[in-house]
Amino acid sequence: METLFFLIISFVAIISAILVVTCKNPINSALSLIMTFFCLATYYVMLDAPFMAAVQVMVYAGAIMVLMVFTIMLLNIRVDASKKHSHKIVFSSIIGFFTFVNLAYVLFKSRVAVPTGPYSADMIKQVGHTELIGKEMFTNFLLPFEITSILLLVAIVGAVILAKKKI
């Protein structure tokens, strides 16, 4: 049952990921990208990480992509602006081929043996995913969390300075 579900979601994810790069209209590409994010969120749910799934939809699909769509709309990129560039196709297909070889090698040759930590699926079900993430974030990972928040603060101040004419 879960495998079948996984296959369906993967099918949609791959189709929409292909559409992201093949669509002529940038808005349709953006829509396909949102669909891909949605499929990724579904994977998180299947991996017993509902918090990650919700954040994935909220942050990526709900916030970042809205900004992207906004930008595309306001710039009003013409559909006919995307001409064919043959040398780009050759170059990118070489890169794509090597990436494929690399990924195939990793998939078939490597033994993925993840050390099992204290957080099993049962524990996540009992305590709750959000609670576990919160506890870890504010105890063991407090310093990275604070550094990230300072980084964001700097970015906010920068944005305000850029947007304001008179400071």
Binding site: I27, P50, A53
Partner: protein
């Protein structure tokens, strides 16, 4: 217990399908009759009668409207971006409806020895003896409501008309800013409850004849959440995206027939969602007297609370004039967000000492 499919009893599937069907048919009917109720209530508040001709006191009006819209000619503007134009109403409508999957509308009922929690995305674990629902219910609702903005933005852009584009831009700016404020407003509720699961939040508000409601512990948060949600779903007094006097009909100017009806339904479904969420978070959800003895009273109380809040929405619409755009942005960014942040800090300090 009886037949099992893929490790789950047959009753599980029957109960799931039944819950989905009942909840969605009920929401659809509510949406249809909310349009009628709105016209009737506003009519009476303005000393008019409202719809009177179709059926007894106009009771068949929603059906007549539906039939009319269904048979209208479907127009796709020739300069429109066809794909985006076609999917925009769907993107607006679907998030509005699937939100109901996580809202608990009743306690646990027992049918033929099988316990069913009245919440779509939940199941009763007989071994643990408790209901498990989606752990991040509220985040799920916030995530879905943040997707609704795409429908409106795309509709505005794809129509290739200046009124639509202006409406779409206004709507998206408004929805993004008020989403933030609404999200910040309800954080203080989670600080009190310590969980994001809606089922547990409802359970925490039971007892003491309604005085455990978060409305009394977090009146400011309740007020702000309701107002911000009204702005987020573009209801009056914040319905600038479809300000008739300036923008014809805003983002859905170019739409006709069923696609227009879909936007209309999305608007009312969003209203039902917001009222249901407010009732769940602040008014105790399905809690009420005698729910322990008669579990079927739970849905009745829940529906009563939701309908009361919807009446408040319509009342506001009949009473208040529309905001100006700069006032709206000022209210969102410079009043609600700072007040919500202060509310979080105050809740944290009080919670630390109690």
């Amino acid at each position: 217990m009886g037949i099992e499919i893929l490790g789950l009893p047959m009753m599980y599937y029957i109960a799931m399908v039944a819950k989905v069907l009942v909840a969605f048919v009920f929401v659809l009917l509510t949406v249809a009759y909310a349009t009628y109720a709105e016209r009737k209530i506003i009519g009476h508040m303005q000393v008019r009668l409202g719809p009177m001709r179709t059926g007894w006191h106009g009771l068949l009006q929603p059906i007549a409207d539906g039939v009319k819209l269904f048979f209208k000619e479907e127009i796709i503007p020739s300069q429109a971006s066809t794909f985006a134009f076609l999917v925009a109403p769907l993107i607006a409508l679907i998030p509005a409806f699937i939100t109901f999957a996580v809202i608990p509308f009743g306690g646990v009922i027992e049918v033929a020895g099988y316990k069913i929690p009245l919440q779509i995305a939940a199941y009763y674990d007989t071994a643990a003896g408790q209901v498990y629902d989606i752990n991040v219910g509220v985040l799920y609702i916030l995530a879905m409501s943040s997707l609704g903005v795409y429908g409106i933005v795309l509709a505005g852009w794809a129509s290739n008309s200046k009124y639509s584009l202006m409406g779409g831009l206004r709507a998206s700016a408004q929805m993004i800013s008020y989403e933030l404020a609404a999200g910040l407003a309800i954080i203080s509720v989670f600080m009190l409850s310590g969980t994001l699961s809606l089922n547990k939040i409802v359970a925490l508000q039971s007892g003491f004849g309604g005085f455990e409601w978060y409305l009394f512990k977090q009146p400011l948060a309740a007020f702000m959440f309701f107002i911000c949600s009204l702005a987020e779903i573009n209801r009056t007094p914040f319905d600038l995206p479809e300000a008739e006097t300036e923008l014809v009909s805003g983002f859905c100017t170019e739409y006709s027939s069923m696609k227009y009806a879909m936007f209309f339904m999305a608007e009312y479904a969003n209203m039902v969602t917001v009222c249901a969420l407010t009732a769940t978070l602040f008014l105790g959800g399905w809690n009420g007297p005698l729910t322990a003895a008669f579990p079927l009273l739970g849905p009745v109380y829940f529906v009563a609370k939701v309908y009361f809040l919807m009446f408040v929405c319509m009342w506001i619409r009949a009473t208040l004039p529309r905001y100006r755009y700069d006032q709206l942005m000022h209210l969102g960014w410079k009043v609600f967000i700072p007040v919500a942040l202060v509310n979080i800090v105050v809740t944290g300090i009080i919670g630390y000492f109690i």
